[in-house]
Amino acid sequence: MADLKLAQQLSLKCVHCGFCLEVCPTYRATRSEVHSPRGRIAAVVSGALTSSGIETCVYCRKCEEACPSGVEFGEIMSAARRPSLEQIMVHRILEDPLRLYNAARLAKMGLPLQVARRVAQITPEPTLPPEYSDPDPELILFAGCIAPVFFTSTVLRALGFLRQRYRVRLINACCGLAHYAEGERERALTVAQRLGDAAQGKPIVSLPSNCSSHMKAFRQLGVEVEVYDFPEFVELMRLPLPKKQLGLTVHEPCHARLAGLNRYVHSALERMGVQVVEMADPTLECGAGGGYIFEQPELSDEIMEAKKKEVAATGCDTVVSTNFACSLALMRMGFTPIHLADLL
């Protein structure tokens, strides 16, 4: 129970001012303290870990930005949560995209499990994850877990783009964010170490931006990797970009925002001459949250409903989303999500 102690220790900073409520997607959906950061902290402090709110946290960590007292809410949730068997199963599947491909096919065939039915509803047709490596690669393209199976063309475009200048190796794997968020902290470390080993000290260009954000924080777990989010790499290297005559809006994934990565998306689009119609709040949570979209169907649908209104208000159908879990949510809302790489 050392983890609970840690969570409780971190919770002491909370002065229950409530500043976190209105930025929390589940609070906004339910208007209930149980599903708010402040309520979750109170549950942790009192040791009431069976409180339903502990499970319903999307782990977007927007509350951390709103918190005037600097409470590390993500750490509290990660330390306090006990993953369910189902969650552990999902994590294992995510660790290997081939497994994810097979699981998704089973789900599409009608596997009689609740989570499988939800997967079948939400995901597009799965594709076998592509594999690629140039000899003596100088750069890793990290595609994550979802993209290689459900957004294969995006991965291939990114690969093609990078290969114009670099020798690239494609890695389809999990970054461990889902594990970390849902309380499988040790396994998250293992996953991180595995990834660190696989990178062999080479710089990683990561396609899913929330994973980029998580990997950038690997140092705190004691794992050293050099990570760039794809748009970040494109912008830092000033890679040449094609001009595009397009009107679209941009979704800002939550963790990417925490790491300050979304600005690179905007500057890349600006260089391409793309017309961006801003949402009133582009950071509004999409409801995907890694495994959340599958595990909390009701709440994630309610969060998506709010996001759908926000996107619809721009009049755009195309939404740039640099995170693939978000893209799944946006597809479910009826929009056309694209990654920056899709424009190259």
Partner: protein
Amino acid sequence: MFIWNSCDVVVVDVRREVEEIVGARWVVEGEDAALFGFDAFTAVKGRPRLVALPADEEQTVRLIALLYRSCTPMVFRGSGTSLSGSTVALTGEEVVVSLTRLNRVYSCEGLEIEVGPGLANVLVTRHAPHDLFYAPDPSSYTVCSIGGNVSHDSGGIHVPKYGSTFNSVVKLRVALCDGSVEDVGGTPYFNGANIFVGSEGSLGAVLRATLRLHPRPETSRTVLGAFQDVASTARAVSAVYEEGVIPAAVEMMDRNSIDVVEKSRYKAGYPDCAALLLVECDGYTPQVEEEVRRVRLVFERLGGKVMVPENPAENSRLWLGRKGAFPAMGVVSPAYLTLDSIVPRTELASVLEEVGRIAERYGVMVANVFHAADGNLHPLIPYNPESPKSLENALRAGWEIVEASMKRGGVPSGEHGVGIEKARFMHQYYSQSELEVLWRIKRAFDPDRLLNPYKMLYENPPETGDRVVSLLYTKPWEAE
């Protein structure tokens, strides 16, 4: 416990009937109910018997009528950001009626906007036409709800020019304990909304509020004055008005609060000084320019060093420090008390001196950061939440500050409300016969005293077994 109750209907299973009204998903009980048992007043936590989150006005009204009929005490709660503990479920008997789901914007016409009580303050302006804004802005404006603002008559930094919430309330729709609903206010003579503003949920529930919007100022400018002694700083506040300036905001920070801010992530780069004033002038550009010129002159005349931010970024930085002053206290201590007594502007220097002496006597560090134009003190008194002794010390220091304010012609609460925190001062601020008149009002609306019991008005202290609660409810003359 409520011996005056005259309930005639016995409701056998309140919980079941509550569920019938709001639906199972919207009833919270057991350990989870405790998550609704506290607000931003850090010293006391309670645990409601049950929480209900009605979806709309109709459910709310039915719920209130049911609870009242069944002799169930109730607390109306919005975002739960009260600093006086007005929404704490103190005894454990209370059902919390959460009004958070009543957060619609109904209409916006002319200078009026009609909203639900659960709407966050910040969203009022967001839903207003672009040339108008909602003026009251308590520091928790991003989250505090309109129902709570109305019930506390919340202030904020722009009160000097635009008034407190009271001045912006045009009309209210209220639910009374018998299940009736009335639209009050919006009338030129008698205005039935007046009594509900600042009544801390003890007379009925606010179901809807029609609020007044103001034209957005053409220009807004900030002047910072840094002074070498507190007396000149305080003097400068009145001097600004004597120049004919009506500032939108005048905030003061003393050395302690500046030090804390500069150590925190709200660091503003304030000049080294004993105290500073942040003045905001807004409105018609030529008028603002002249106001700024005069404020500068006043500050310089009184020996102040003047800073006028050159660009919006610098301007925001100066205000960030002020706005972050409360949370920045986290640098010093994980918990702190904030009071909100008021003195006339002319008493500021004297009361601040007294605050210094009180702090010394109790061995606490008091940081003062407050609405100077309103004479509205906000002494921040840190304490160690693990140590009851430390909390008691902080409480007593705070009480003395409130007393020092009252002695100088002030009042116990300017904007946070009485709640639990200042209930004891009602017996000091009002005479027995005055209190009886307040009770007569209370009884006319709530004959069985079931609405937000023990807040603002109480006769006998609640028996909760909690030492802090019994301390808070000790009448001043009963303390040693």
